[in-house]
């Protein structure tokens, strides 16, 4: 399999601290990859090593089939968008975008055409005389993007490209960035600690934790088949259960049955009609409701455990103290250190009865 970027057994220490622990992954040409992980998990370090701004202690990095460990950043054919953009503050938007082309001593006319084209692409044609300080966060982000793209890199690296932008603009920029990258077809890796962002933007997600790669795959794979407890916990909204065998349909022998339940695994109904399968359901009491815009998050207590579920705004509203039915469809089990999805067993029986 030919990869555009490949990391093989990469290790990196900062002093005694292991920032990258035997990292292996490959990215195919034209893919948009999200490097997702909690703060301090070593995402930026990986990105900087690919760019050549940091040197791995051991391991090999390949870009377009070539081992690049000993090649300077400028010769790796990459574009880098920095977390705080790192725009040249004393240069105008135009000069910023043109920088990489000027360094390459491109023809003046070619530069002019390319910069104009990119300014158009980022929708800032009218602002090319401005300095970075005179732009909004979202505009700066786009300039940084255009600047990185100007020399037509084979690989685009973006470090938390949306971190410094407010929520609304961020949403717009995300889809803009995804569409633009797909349109240009440039292989890209972006770093984020926001799972919504990764799921929405990336073709594939690589999950990092404590300097290791926990799992790589499409958002759907990672969501539906988390390979490690960390991933199961990190992706989606999770409620930890120390022993899931107490719930109906999940009874098992033995000890040590920790797991997690996500809100979308639970149906909360006010009566038997609403829940459809009352025999497989638990009884609970509403502890609180939180309006979430498109739905209501309901917190319920079942057998002394607090669970969370979502409820459509179309259904009759619940309030604190209401007695409800809670149907747990499935649970992620961490039993014996392995992750597995367990379905509600009594649900099947109830089907049979009906």
């Amino acid at each position: 399999m030919a990869y555009e970027v490949e990391l093989k057994n990469i290790n990196k220490h900062f002093g005694d601290f292991k920032a990258s622990d035997n990292i292996n992954f490959g990215v195919k040409k034209g893919r948009l990859i999200g490097l997702l992980g909690p703060s301090g998990s070593g995402k930026t370090t990986v990105l900087r090593m690919i760019a050549g701004l940091e040197t791995p202690d051991s391991g090999d990095i390949f870009i377009a089939g070539q081992r690049v460990n000993d090649i300077t950043p400028g010769k790796r054919g990459i574009g880098f968008v920095f977390q705080n953009y790192a725009l040249f503050r004393h240069m105008t938007v135009w000069e910023n975008i043109a920088f990489g082309l000027n360094v390459k001593k491109e023809d003046k006319e070619v530069i002019k055409k390319r910069v104009a084209e990119l300014a158009e692409l980022i929708g800032l044609s009218k602002f090319t005389d401005r300095y970075p300080m005179q732009l909004s966060g979202g505009q700066r982000q786009r300039v940084a993007f255009a600047r990185a793209l100007a020399p037509s890199p084979g690989l685009l690296l973006l470090d938390e490209p949306f971190a410094a932008i407010d929520a609304k603009v961020r949403k717009e920029l995300r889809s803009w960035l995804r569409d633009t990258i797909h349109k240009l077809g440039v292989t890209s890796i972006f770093v984020t600690h926001d799972q919504d962002e990764a799921v929405e933007v990336a073709d594939d997600i690589i999950i990092t934790n404590k300097g290791r790669v926990e799992q790589a795959g499409t958002p759907a794979e990672i969501y539906q088949k988390p390979l490690t407890p960390f991933v199961a916990d990190f992706i989606g909204e999770s409620v930890h259960i120390s022993d899931y065998t107490i719930f109906k349909g999940f009874e098992e022998e033995g000890e040590d049955h920790p797991g997690i339940i996500r809100p979308e695994f639970i149906d909360i109904g006010i009566d038997e009609k609403e829940i459809l399968m009352p025999l497989s359901s638990e009884r609970g009491v509403v502890k609180g409701t939180y309006f979430r815009g498109s739905n209501v998050e309901v917190e319920i207590e079942v057998k002394g455990v607090i669970l969370r579920g979502n409820r459509s705004l179309e259904k009759p509203p619940l309030k604190k103290g209401d007695k409800v039915f809670a149907l747990i469809h499935r649970i992620y089990s961490f039993s014996g250190g392995k992750t597995a999805v367990i379905e509600n067993k009594s649900k099947r029986k109830e089907y049979v009865i009906i």
């Binding site: 760019a51 050549g52 701004l53 300077t72 950043p73 400028g74 010769k75 790796r76 990459i78 574009g79 880098f80 920095f82 705080n84 790192a86 725009l87 040249f88 503050r89 004393h90 920088f99 990489g100 360094v103 390459k104 300095y131 970075p132 300080m133 005179q134 600047r147 990185a148 020399p151």
Partner: protein, 272 residues
């Protein structure tokens, strides 16, 4: 006492202090300089030994500023753009000239290049005179003024970080291009400010230069040394007249300094 009273009281104290410590002495310098009339003043400052002292001061200042600019840029770059062990030690060493008395610095050069020095036989064989000669004066001036530019640049470069340089590097810019196109424009006002401080200090340096100079009139006397000699000879008018040259140079520096500060503030809107 109300807030206002405190304010005016402090302004009054400040003004009084400035007046007695600064304005009054400066006026007296001018007064003394012209005590024997305009002609005597002109005669005093155009006298060959004074002229020679002025040239030597300017020479030492220019060389010190040029070399310290190069050194200051290099060391500030090293201290802020690289990580290495012994970084803090280097930082403290650069501050050393601020900490030790200039006279001690002067003695240090005497030990290094004078008769007691282990290098003295070599130096005398090639007839290289360092102490009691112009090179010693220049060395002493450089030594005393070398922290200024580094100290001015390090905080600026530290807050600016390395990201812009790294961005330029990923686009294939060479080290020199990065310095010229990215780093230098970002630090230019701080650098100019440091240069001005360095020049001001270099012109006025007395202690270290006094030790290494040997006070040879017309040869190794800088303006401050010449002023002292004239004064010690009870030639007050000449002494103050020459002093007025230094005051005049100081005023030029002050104006430049304010101009630079003003420009730097204005360019602040571009994020400097």
């Amino acid at each position: 006492m109300s807030e206002k009273t405190v304010k005016y009281f402090l302004i009054f104290v400040g003004a009084l202090f400035l007046f007695t410590m600064l304005i009054l002495p400066l006026t007296l310098v001018a007064f003394e300089a012209f005590a024997k009339g305009y002609d005597a003043y002109i005669a005093a400052i155009s006298e060959p030994f004074s002229q020679k002292a002025l040239y030597l001061t300017i020479e030492a200042t220019i060389i010190a500023v040029v070399l310290n600019t190069a050194f200051g840029l290099a060391s500030a770059w090293l201290l802020t753009k690289y990580d290495f062990s012994g970084k803090t030690v280097l930082g403290s060493l650069i501050d050393l000239p601020f900490a030790i008395s200039p006279v001690v610095a002067g003695l240090f050069f005497i030990m290094l290049f004078g008769r007691l020095s282990p290098f003295y036989p070599i130096l005398s064989e090639y007839e290289i005179a360092v102490v009691f000669a112009v090179p010693g004066i220049i060395l002493a001036t450089i030594f005393v003024t070398f922290p200024f530019i580094t100290r001015e640049l390090v905080p600026i470069m530290e807050t600016q970080g390395r990201a812009e340089e790294e961005a330029a590097a990923t686009m294939g810019a060479s080290g020199f291009t990065i310095f010229r196109k990215v780093t230098l424009p970002n630090i230019k006002w701080g650098l100019l400010y440091g240069i001005i401080l360095c020049a001001a200090r270099a012109m006025g340096e007395f202690g270290a230069v006094s030790v290494v100079s040997g006070h040879i009139r017309g040869k190794t006397n800088t303006l401050p040394l010449h002023i002292e000699i004239l004064y010690n000879e009870y030639n007050f008018t000449a002494s103050f007249a020459v002093a007025s040259i230094l005051v005049f140079l100081a005023i030029i520096i002050l104006v430049l300094r304010n101009a630079v500060e003003w420009r730097a503030e204005r360019s602040g809107k571009y994020g400097l």
